[in-house]
Symmetry: C2
Subunit: 649 residues, 2 copies
Amino acid sequence: MILSALLTSVGINLGLCVFFFALYSILRKQRRNIEVYAPRLVAEGRALRQGVFSLETLLPTPGWVRSAWRPSEEEILASCGLDAVVFMRIFIFSLRVFSVATIMGLFVLLPIHYLGGQLRDINFSDLPNKSLDLFNVSNVKDGSNRLWVHFSAAYAITGVVCYLLYFEYKYISYKRLEQFIASKPKAQEFTVLVRGIPSHGSSISDTVDKFFMEYHPSTYLTHVVVRRTNKLRGLIEVHAAFVYFKSRYGASSVLHIQQSVNPTEWATEQAPEPHDVYWPLFSASFLKRWISKLVVIVASLFLIILFLLPVAFVQGLTNLNQLETLLPFLKGILRTSVVSQIITGYLPSLILHLFVSIVPPIMKIFSTMQGHISHSGIEKSACGKMLWFTVWNAFFAIVLTGSVASQLQVFLEPKDIPSRLAVAVPAQASFYIAFVVTSWTSLSSELTRVFALLGSWMGGCSGCLDDELRAPSIPYHSEIPRLLLFLLLGLSYVLLAPLILPFILIFFFIGYIIYRNQLLNVYLPKYETGGQFWPIVHNSMIFSLILMQAIAFGIFGLKKFPLASSLLLPLPVVTLLFNDYCRKRFQPIFEAYSAETLIKKDRNDQNDPGMNEFFAKLVTAYDDPALMPIQHQENLNDHNAPLLSSVDV
Amino acid sequence: MILSALLTSVGINLGLCVFFFALYSILRKQRRNIEVYAPRLVAEGRALRQGVFSLETLLPTPGWVRSAWRPSEEEILASCGLDAVVFMRIFIFSLRVFSVATIMGLFVLLPIHYLGGQLRDINFSDLPNKSLDLFNVSNVKDGSNRLWVHFSAAYAITGVVCYLLYFEYKYISYKRLEQFIASKPKAQEFTVLVRGIPSHGSSISDTVDKFFMEYHPSTYLTHVVVRRTNKLRGLIEVHAAFVYFKSRYGASSVLHIQQSVNPTEWATEQAPEPHDVYWPLFSASFLKRWISKLVVIVASLFLIILFLLPVAFVQGLTNLNQLETLLPFLKGILRTSVVSQIITGYLPSLILHLFVSIVPPIMKIFSTMQGHISHSGIEKSACGKMLWFTVWNAFFAIVLTGSVASQLQVFLEPKDIPSRLAVAVPAQASFYIAFVVTSWTSLSSELTRVFALLGSWMGGCSGCLDDELRAPSIPYHSEIPRLLLFLLLGLSYVLLAPLILPFILIFFFIGYIIYRNQLLNVYLPKYETGGQFWPIVHNSMIFSLILMQAIAFGIFGLKKFPLASSLLLPLPVVTLLFNDYCRKRFQPIFEAYSAETLIKKDRNDQNDPGMNEFFAKLVTAYDDPALMPIQHQENLNDHNAPLLSSVDV
């Protein structure tokens, strides 16, 4: 790709961004669209459906940016929960990392590359037709001492990222504990889900009562056996129950100590929030869940492999010559400068974006089939699957073009990975720069919520798009892996093609504004994991760092600079040790609360007169909504909507 | 190797076995040797040092075999502990597996191989000079339908092994629980080792008291801070303590729930038995332990690689032609039939046995450096290291001859592993048959305890071999991996060279008798893990099964029998699923006791008047013997010797 093709792409996308921003600022002011652009405020009863029409409502204004910018983190925490804060911390973290990286890249590495002279094209004339390769590390002469700058940059970037990762992990751990300590009593803290209840003649309910009265008489409160309706609408006896305890520490003891001599019986699990329970789960037996899990693993792998087809197609588009040979009648059109620039610079990324956007719902269905007990569990699992998918298909499959077998071959020869990557990654720099630029548009289009808008306009068809019109929840399982992909790209290319960095920085900046706006106006959190998505982000960043180091290692080998390669070896070791320390220091905080914390909170509650009322409500918290009388069920749905108040039963 | 070389080896080893058996039966009757051959009985005061000399004591008699055979499993459990029973169960399990395998191998597979006709040598004349290869699968014609028999055998053997594994896991789990339920109260059940105690000005002891009085007032009893003497003999305040609780369930709650908000502080760990504590540990800080662990990993890998030298030497010996080229002056001697048979059939295995016997003490030193808190922990860790070492050096390094790099190459191309193994494993069949036969001798020499005997004869030198003369404990970390190697060999060769099976069967039979004798007379258990070595055995068997299936897969490919290869694929999947089930069903039982069990035992104790005395003794159970007054220390050593009574404090 030449510089002018990149500029074309930047132009198109910048234009589209401005268009979407302007469109949004007009559309949101139309009162009939309020359920599309502020469904959350409507659901919470904070938005007025009536408004006065004036000419001003047809003019684009930047007021919404100011309102999105203004709220402090505390306000976002109070209104959207800790998960939303963690999501926004990914942006803040990325902005910090790429601010440093961009300054270093543009002012130190880029001049070295351009003046490198390997590609013998050092003058400044005819800049628009220069290949982007001139700005890559490929242009640095073999064995050049200037590569010490790259070596120092690898250490510096690792240092900065590790420092920021440590800081964020500590900060979010602290927020998580602070939130827990300040929170009101919640049903899930006093509840344990027990599965594999043995039945020897007597009823499940009696067995549960007998067991817990026998072994935990001082802390056991009561229980509710999980029931489900089968196709014939009969109620069935499932061998699972939500067991309630009088104290958090009591519930925690039961949770962490194996209850029965036979580990497959009386298996305990942390109860999810009452409205977070995914009820259909309970129809699956242990064996069925096990088989489902295997099927899901196979299906996910199949999907990842199937996805190589569109990736190959996208690859084909970036190579015009191939296309000309394949479809010779297009030769005339393809030779037009603008068309060829659009096709090589814009279309491939757009197609990839579209295809990638199909996958998250499929992965979510897979995770659902796996038998997780809660919506949050399903999304966490889908997030992990999407991460694998994204890293594989949007990075490795693109970089290492060729058949699946030849791609897998690379990973079967770990020694050769750095040198293979060092050759393959810089070759795709132009494609990824275009990809990042295109992503600005897909981010901005998030603002206008086209499908929801169309649904609202066709509202006459009696709520056929009803679900989409209600306040949706933010799909973390598709958004977080997407952000992590850009972090991965940024770190992979920081030494190779620093030209990508400002575009990534802009991506995160646009995202920061847009998602703050959407979190405040559109998305209504459906659950609260207390920041449990952060460890996924942390681990994925460590992976990106190791990848960056492997590529640097390969580059120094390729550039005949072996001393730097050898001196780079301590870097991954130190990075992994750092990760090991974080895993020991912070990860347990995200898995369970400590005895110290639980006992302190239990003691505080002892003097609270409201606890009797809380326990009275607790015993019905985990009744299956599908089994309640209709009246009751509707009430419950109303309660569910404004989540952050309903979390406190 | 030809049949007569094998027979030479069998002859030599059978002769040596009979010699050692006879020698032992004479030596053990000499009363001056009683401390060598029955040190355990001496230590327990059950053996009389006085005896009457008669001519009969100079004649070999088989009486000891009878006395070794007679005791029931209950008697062994009572006298040697559950770990010894688990060790003997390995023999029983192996005898069962190889009885079935031998019958199938000798009466079904061997005839098929011999009549296979691939090597065109089907007549029965001149049997002694026939190559052993005629009895291997190599002799079956490509694409022969007789390979369906091998296919069925692979399924049958997997079925038999899995059934027996399940049975053993269940049986040993049951024994473990039964032993726990029947046992008297033990110090370690009421004790938790706490590390990372924060000190903010006040003394460690005060901090511990304050923390546990605050959060576990109802179950906390008292504690003892771990002290150590430094080189200047000063006492130092270590940030660790043994904390005592009033109930097992109380200790278990503290153990399984993270105590502090900061997971690196107040880290809890199951306390080992008081006499099992490895005191020097406490001199290592967290950072020091971390670095030690890294150093140990590197050192172990280095040892494994270094060991390829003797392996290559052994390999050279089995190939006489190479030796002749290298040392031409030996040509005359090497051409002598007996010498060549000894050199190819006996010497290589003997050398390998000698070299392998050097490694376990080194691995134990490595594990000690790693900072485990107990002798049992050190031996379990060393057992794992030895298993890696054994599988790598005594199997893969021998089978896949060549440089380390070329061996590693195999594992970097997983797809090719089966076909590589299918070529390489049958080629080493003769070597391993000789290896198994040689191991009979090394087993029998265990009986005579040559070094201990020499030490006893030189007893005049005032107890210079004092340690060896005392009752030793059985070195599980060297014995278990050795047995597992033979199980691995047997399963790897069951389809390829069934001629090895009867020799392995004899190995386990001799071992069964010898180790029963040694456990009853020689070894005194120094600790009791309650059978925690079994999961290692189980997992290693699953590995062997998968290896067997991979080799079978490769063989069918090599023999141009692709349908059987494809139909074999479900087998490893089913095996891994079986393992997954066992891991869920049984493994937790070996990691911790359930709430049900602990609470039941606690309740039983409530009415026991002896508990006050127990608690009074408990508080001094974990005092460092090195810090006690000399008088006290000697008392303690005396107590330590007859372990099974001292386990109950």
